[in-house]
Symmetry: C2
């Protein structure tokens, strides 16, 4: 049994009782929240050990009492940004359940667009992240799929949704406009580069597929893609059931 990294112990409330020494001035959650606030306000690049430390009234090195590396800090940030899942599945069917699940996650991600930009180097083990995974599996609980199939299906939905949010926010379709992204220029560039003779399919898809940066393009495309995945799962269920 390998011992848990400190930030996980702290997040899960697993510290041994009867500790000596001064009480910690802040909690990991507070530190994470401060980092989240900075990222929300000034972008991910503004989150440094120094800036976070200042925000909580620490010196940079003090943060290392709570977190062993910046990577771990980012894991905490994700946990704080997602928050606990709050889903009422009622007596919906599985299709409607994962839809709800996927939509809710997407909402949290949209609220903190930087969440889809950082790529954790280790699988998430923080409480909220775990809780969301649990909720996703629960959505598929009454299907005849094996737990492995459920896991795969859920992962597919999750990854797809994450990517959708990423693409949408980068193109400025949704959410607060990131000042440091060129957003609009992509379309200009692509039409400039794509020679219709060499890339006929792309040439057709480019303007048509990306052209209407309507407000609700995000929603339409979300439903389109999610539907595709759900149909795939449905086929899997049909075969298994």
């Amino acid at each position: 049994m390998s011992t848990l990294p400190r930030y996980l112990q702290l997040l899960w409330g697993l510290e041994p009782t009867g500790r000596r020494g001064p009480k910690p001035g802040r909690s990991v959650a507070e530190i994470g929240a401060a980092a989240v606030a900075i990222a929300d306000r000034a972008g991910l690049s503004a989150v440094s050990m120094k800036s976070v430390a200042e925000a909580v009234g620490f010196t940079p090195m003090s943060l290392y009492r709570y977190v062993d590396s910046k990577d771990e800090l980012q894991a905490v940030m994700l946990d704080v940004a997602y928050g606990p899942p709050d889903l009422d599945y009622g007596n919906r069917d599985w299709r409607s359940r994962i839809s709800l699940w996927a939509t809710e996650i997407a909402e949290r991600r949209l609220a903190h667009p930087w969440t889809v930009e950082l790529t954790p180097s280790t699988p998430p083990l923080t409480p909220n992240a775990i809780a969301w995974m649990e909720a996703g599996l629960e959505a598929l609980a009454d299907t005849p799929l094996t737990s492995q199939q459920r896991l795969s299906a859920m992962l597919a939905v999750d990854v797809w949704g994450q990517n959708h949010v990423r693409q949408s926010t980068r193109m400025g379709l949704v959410g607060p406009v990131d000042p440091e992204s060129p957003q609009g220029s992509y379309l200009e560039l692509i039409t400039e580069l794509i020679d219709p003779d060499r890339f006929p399919h792309l040439a057709k898809a480019g303007p048509e597929g990306l052209g209407d940066d309507d407000e609700d393009f995000y929603v339409e495309e979300f439903e389109r893609g999610l539907g595709l995945l759900l149909d795939g799962i449905e086929a899997l269920i049909a075969r298994a059931g």
Copy 2:
């Protein structure tokens, strides 16, 4: 019309003719190849402006004649790593075509596992990346889907495949073992953390779903997930046709 970034001009061979001054000593492609070699040998973190410069016989600052930032260098690296698509669709049906497409991309990614770790901040506009997208769309060309639907479907497949490679390499199922990743410990940690009462579904899926790190788990799971997506696309086609 916004003007193209230099590295794209160079990659696409769009430099204006009749230039004065000395010829460039190297090409962007060479620089990219050097960076790729370093990443393959020593990991992504070993790729710095300095190390790449040394590899091509330059000083760090010289690289900025070819590439405006490290981000752009990474875009070049991806282009070099993917290489041009070399697919023979023959007279397969669409299902078999995208399968081939997805499999081929996955192979390239496996050959350079770091490709799935870096997240380009801008959509890919480099020649090979574009060519791969074109090939993906071509695979769906004779379906009754709109170009927008084709684009979405292709993107879904691509994102899923990328994630699959990422997960697999991180868990050490496939490819060269990254010395700086803890790999095995995840399973221990998760079983240590997941209280079966609070997270019943995960508790069941965890050991069962991730347990058999067999060699061919990668392939099985690849086919499973890809099949799910293809079934989704098929449903879409059925509805559209």
